[in-house]
Symmetry: C2
Subunit: 248 residues, 2 copies
């Protein structure tokens, strides 16, 4: 990576959403990036900047949806794909092939969980408001909380091994982009479902230790306290609707 | 890839599902693979073979769910990740980095569409039967058919460019694993939603030509006519429930 490499991120400017997984990687690496849509419209920002990229010429390598990373003339979309491109360049993954494929498997499993979280509040259609699919959302959330969230979390906890002699990182012996994404997933679940997530807490000591360790990394701690970190809100993927935060 | 490389696929033996994207890659390449769970139980097959892999030792690189590829001691899960590993080894992707990241972006976009197709018949929970979420399925399917399917298909069609002078492959100038996966997606949509897909047909000439070209590749044509190709059925991801195949 040359010192002049210019990284541009295109993502919705008012939510963490899937773009946050990319933001965390840049922030932890201490590498400058331009969060284009968060610039004022007069400076080429706003949602118009994203739409301009999505409406390129036919036969170009167009993305389907943000987040989109632009590096020179290269456009890369799909969160896990962007992270796979960035991780070796930002020092966020080891060198072996086995490690890299395992990291990507975990990243894609996190992405699956994130998609399921989205559908807890939008089980019918993204184009409808939450209020217009509330009944279905209650039903889907109940299953997510009692079946899916525990299944995902116990899988990830299992990877960390036994408490006390367990591992501190999800991939290999070193910190990686997957640990950053796990921080984001755990934080999002705790925001959206504080009661249900709280009930899980005693069974995931390794994951909670990992989450706290990430939050205390100096650059991440500084980022979380900065205005660059958009607060969780009810336009994003992780939404707190108390009526969805029930148990069985 | 050495001549002795032994590829083992672990996937549910009675459905196409996500495993089919991997099967198509092996079949098109003419490379032998062992579809482990389709062996008789007495020979180490059946669903028990999959569960054995999923219940390995803690701290190992365990997968969350099938499909799983085993190559020697390496386990790789997540469909797109498996294909990314296999594609260069099977001659199903070009050499440039730009091509590879774009291919993977498309593969992940196909995966997103496949997940949405699954949720047309299971919008509440995978653990419930279709019959127990039929009302929600009707509502979700109506949105999928009128909003999401056209959005995905028009995006992919757009990549192929103008009719007549358009491109024949989704990535670069050569055939790739993404074309195989697109064949599977289009075939699945046509099976699940014959009426809705039929209404789309005139707007996606490039994709339909691509689908037919893939079906006519000699090894794929032989595979589709063999008992190795499991028929579409109502246990898989693409299910034909006539009551979900409506328009707006």
């Amino acid at each position: 990576m040359s010192a002049q490499t210019r990284f541009e991120l295109y993502y919705w400017p008012s939510i963490q959403g899937r773009g946050e997984f990319v933001r965390l990687a840049f922030e932890d690496a201490g590498v400058r990036y331009l969060d284009v849509a968060r610039l004022p419209r007069a400076k080429g920002g706003g949602e118009a900047a994203i739409l301009k990229v999505l409406r390129g010429k036919p036969s170009a390598r167009l993305p389907f949806a943000p987040p989109i990373l632009k590096v020179g003339r290269l456009l890369i979309a799909q969160t896990a794909n962007i992270l796979q491109y960035l991780a070796p360049r930002l020092g966020l993954i080891g060198d072996t092939e086995a490690e890299r494929f395992f990291a990507q498997q975990l990243q894609l499993t996190i992405a699956d969980c994130v998609a399921e979280v989205h559908d807890t509040h939008h089980p019918v259609a993204s184009s409808l408001r939450y209020q217009d699919q509330r009944r279905e959302a209650r039903r889907r959330s109940a299953h997510f909380i009692t079946e899916r969230m525990p299944k995902f979390l116990s899988y990830f906890e299992h990877l960390l091994g036994q408490p006390k002699k367990g591992r501190r990182h999800l991939v290999g012996s070193a910190f990686s982009y997957v640990d950053l994404s796990m921080y984001q997933l755990l934080s999002g679940l705790a925001y959206a479902f504080p009661r249900a997530f709280g009930r899980q807490a005693t069974s995931i000591p390794g994951l909670l230790a990992l989450r706290d360790a990430v939050a205390n990394r100096p650059r991440i701690a500084a980022y979380l306290n900065s205005p660059r970190r958009i607060p969780f809100n009810e336009d994003g993927i992780f939404r707190h609707y108390p009526e969805l935060d029930h148990g069985a």
